[in-house]
Symmetry: C2
Subunit: 563 residues, 2 copies
């Protein structure tokens, strides 16, 4: 994220920032000391049960930050989320940020954190990008304890009649480790286990993570964990965690992790950073518990969802907003001149060159995302995330186009100045206006629709597809889903974020295409059916020059080379 | 640990105990607020750099709690360690406990924690037995990040010429998972990695754990990590972490974990619980940093080492006390009537029956351990850990035998009363007297001896073996060790804890036996050569009825079924 902007790194800015004791941030946010579990000076978990009920306090309004179809470098959603919250605070609003926790695996792999950038970051970024408060480690533990119990059950006589060839749940690690994608385990003879094909995913791809992030409390989490399907019997019946009887143990392993983590932005706005399911095979937004806690504590919650609005926002509306009452009151669609140029046909290496015509050609992508947001009954606001390479002509054309289309829009100069400065004032004003607009939120589809029709609705209404084609495997899976009574679950699309279609090279606003559904994966604990279009990467690899090579600790214990 | 004693579980006792805010414990121990990083209300990490240097304060004396050769149920070393510290505090001494952190894997497997028992426990036991402050998760991350980097280096062209068949470092998980002992990774074709045979150990068996626990500070830790050997090149040259250039990244992942964890005993004695290397293939005691921090803060540090004195105490003297100036000033040898009976030939199921003759026969085991401790120039004190099934006749005979042999001894009734009661007063008095005795500590062998001779010295002097036999593999390895210049490292014996010999069934004080060294594993970062006698279990399995089946969380978030 940093390289585009400046010689000063995000880590430099973060370390130079004045950080306040987390007790002060908590006190200002109305969190009493008894609800605070400190983790050092600048992080705390919140014991939600200890929060006061304020009579008459309406739940905070939710501002969801989403984006147009991004470039591979990303359009700065996290940065914008932080900056917008800071700008709203600057405007005198009671506001909190709710963000995902970063995954440790990618931190070791490539440059680029998930805690915002420039002067719009959450602090302490070093901690948040490393182990933070251990939530992901707890999820890794719960996931892998479950799988040890599954393989142990098979080894100890297999009383549940589990077919080792039909185990669908994998072990996970929060490491980018391609060599664990496909493995054979249980080798070594009769005392070492039962051999079977297996694989590891990255922790953020664990269904435990998805269930964790959709649970409204510990009891709901236990129920979701109990419903997770780990595989099938020899006669093709699903086997759940409840069948193994270990949902209690898994919940115990997560009892502290479910408490949301309080940190702060550089400008001192309180931020809850909690949970982080993969955006490609899960729903890609922070925990329901964090969002709802922020709603209890503030008047406005600024949060984000992964990928573009075709994926992140749709899943927020149809999955997360069904798990709990967290439907957005406004949606910010982040656009960048760079991304518009890319959708206008400019090659990746030329995106820094002025090219207003390419912006004009690429705006069709933004237009469809804006129209999609309106289908949920929500007022969109376009936030143009300003980069130093943007020209006035490009920015002015974009704003005038938005005005002509009746789209509320503002340029946000949030990276360079931080949300504490005036660069986000205009956007904050537009968002406040949108929050005053009448809202008539609706889901895109009713749960009663068959899974096949839900997918078709999303493909046609949101993506602009003319048809959906199911592979033979997907058709078989649809029958299983019906037979097992899972047809009422919402759908979680796994699709490239770079195109509305399932072909990453079809930029802009493609039409007349067929969406290909390759396979369906029921996630009965998280509570959705993943629809795979194309390959889904669930365990990333490391690059040739991993970021780890540059990392170190200085004599004061400070991080070196972390972005 | 609990089942022998009472219908009240350790968890019940722990939850009923009055626990004090950790700031109060810290203040009483002379730890200033600026050195304290709170983890909730009852746990804190200590930033050692912020501790004041007290002019004229001598480092605290070290009392090492070890044991005779144990029964499979264990003789209560942790309980005795906690209880003795409480009793010393009751006697007005400035005292701290230093203990290992428990491993999460076994917690899910079987009943029995590692935080003491009865009224001699460290609190909060629920947290300590689960994720605690995340140290083991950080070690798991560092270990597995390293291995992802190793396999990535091979995948990205193998510039270090690593032979995938000769990688000696494994991935780890803090889970009892036998099906991961032997695996094949890197399957799936050219884009998924390079296939090779591999396996997972439990986290406590990681060399990162051993290096972590022997490091004196972060810089020393980085040096140790850099020296770790991950495998060999095709031309049989060792490949180290320094060759990969990632010791900085691994140190960064451990920068918070190296800070020792402050908790308290039920009686309110400050305890540092930090690190926990496996006792079978590592040295089995808490971190050097914790021991030395406790020495800075108190006049007496009570600590323990895993297994019997032939293993734990010997490694403490010859490995840990070489890494830092932490040699014991007194050694407590825990004995139980049960264990003496077992060494006297009584079957496991009959150990509760009164049998003074068996005690008399079994005392040869205790006698050899006591004599061994004296070989290090240290005064031993025998602590008879009292069980409810012990008869007065048995206890009295044992005490009179000790008196006749000139061995300082006391019965400690610490489980039932807790160290806060008078049950440990006698033992505390004996230990204080031993600390006043003249000490002339010496290591058992000089580092200059060849590895082969070091092993022979331990086998003959400590175990009572008449000879040592090296397998063909071990002989080859001895040559490699010499060729690579690792001959000056101390030896870490991996031997059954149940017998002085390498045959677990030879109880008492066997003589005239040959010790068989099957293989040698250089741990160049931890800084020792592991000598394997018999099989070394480095990844436990789960039992038929895992403890996880009984676990849950109650409505208040409290642990259920955790011991």
């Amino acid at each position: 994220m940093t390289s585009i902007h400046a010689p000063v790194s995000d880590l430099d800015i973060a370390r130079a920032a004045r950080i306040r004791p987390i007790e002060d941030i908590a006190a200002a946010a109305g969190i009493p000391a008894e609800a605070l579990e400190l983790h050092g000076r600048y992080k705390a978990k919140i014991d939600v049960a200890q929060l006061p009920r304020v009579p008459g306090k309406a739940p905070g309004k939710v501002v969801l930050v989403s984006a147009m179809s991004p470039t591979p470098a990303g359009e700065g959603k996290s940065t914008l989320t932080v900056g917008l919250a800071d700008s709203l605070a600057r405007a005198g609003q009671s506001v909190m940020v709710a963000l995902r926790e970063p995954s440790l695996g990618p931190v070791m792999g490539m440059k680029g954190g998930a805690t915002g950038g420039g002067y719009s970051q959450v602090l302490p970024m070093e901690d948040i990008n490393l182990h933070f408060t251990g939530d992901f480690h707890a999820i890794t533990s719960a996931n892998n304890t479950l799988m040890a119990l599954v393989d142990n059950s098979i080894y100890q006589g297999n009383p549940l009649n589990i077919d080792p060839r039909r185990i669908t749940f994998k072990r996970v690690l929060d490491v980018n480790d391609r060599s664990l994608r496909d493995v054979v385990i249980g080798l070594g003879g009769p005392t070492q286990g039962v051999p079977r094909q297996d694989g590891f995913d990255i922790t953020v791809a664990s269904e435990v993570m998805a269930a964790f992030c959709l649970a409204t409390d510990l009891a709901d989490l236990r129920n979701r964990l109990a419903r997770m399907t780990i595989g099938y019997t020899y006669d093709r019946k699903p086997v759940t965690v409840a069948d193994l009887g270990v949902e209690g143990a898994l919940t115990l392993l997560l009892r502290d992790a479910v408490k949301p983590n309080l940190v702060q932005t550089i400008a001192g706005t309180p931020a809850l950073v909690h949970g982080g399911p993969f955006a490609n095979i899960a729903h890609g937004c922070n925990s329901v518990i964090a969002t709802q806690t922020a709603q209890r504590l503030s008047d406005i919650v600024v949060t984000e969802a992964g990928f573009g609005a075709d994926l992140g926002a749709e899943k927020f509306m149809d999955i997360k907003a069904r798990a709990a009452d967290v439907a957005p009151d406004a949606v910010v669609v982040v656009a960048t001149i760079r991304a518009l140029k890319m959708h206008g046909g400019v090659a990746k290496d030329n995106l820094r060159e002025p090219d207003v015509d390419a912006v004009k050609r690429g705006v069709v992508n933004l237009r469809r995302h804006v129209a999609n947001v309106r289908k949920f009954g929500i007022t969109p606001v376009v936030a143009v995330n300003k980069f130093v390479t943007d020209t006035d002509e490009e920015l002015e054309w974009l704003l005038s186009w938005c005005a002509a289309e009746g789209i509320s829009a503002a340029v946000a100069d949030i990276w360079g100045e931080g949300g504490g400065g005036p660069g986000g004032d205009d956007l904050a004003g537009k968002v406040l206006a949108a929050l005053e607009a009448p809202r008539s939120f609706r889901h895109l589809y009713p749960l009663e629709l068959p899974v096949e029709e839900k997918i078709r609705t999303i493909a046609q209404e949101i993506y602009g597809a003319c048809d959906v084609e199911f592979s033979a495997a997907a058709l078989r899976r649809l029958k299983e889903i019906q037979a097992n009574g899972w047809d009422q679950l919402p759908v979680c699309m796994a699709k490239t974020q770079y195109s509305f279609s399932d072909d990453a090279t079809r930029l802009g606003a493609p039409e007349g295409f067929t969406l290909h559904v390759r396979d369906l994966i029921p996630k009965t604990g998280a509570g959705f059916i993943v629809a795979l279009t194309g390959a889904a990467m669930t365990m990333p690899g490391l690059p040739k020059e991993p970021g780890a090579l540059r990392m170190n600790v200085d004599d004061d214990g400070g991080a070196v080379g972390l972005f």
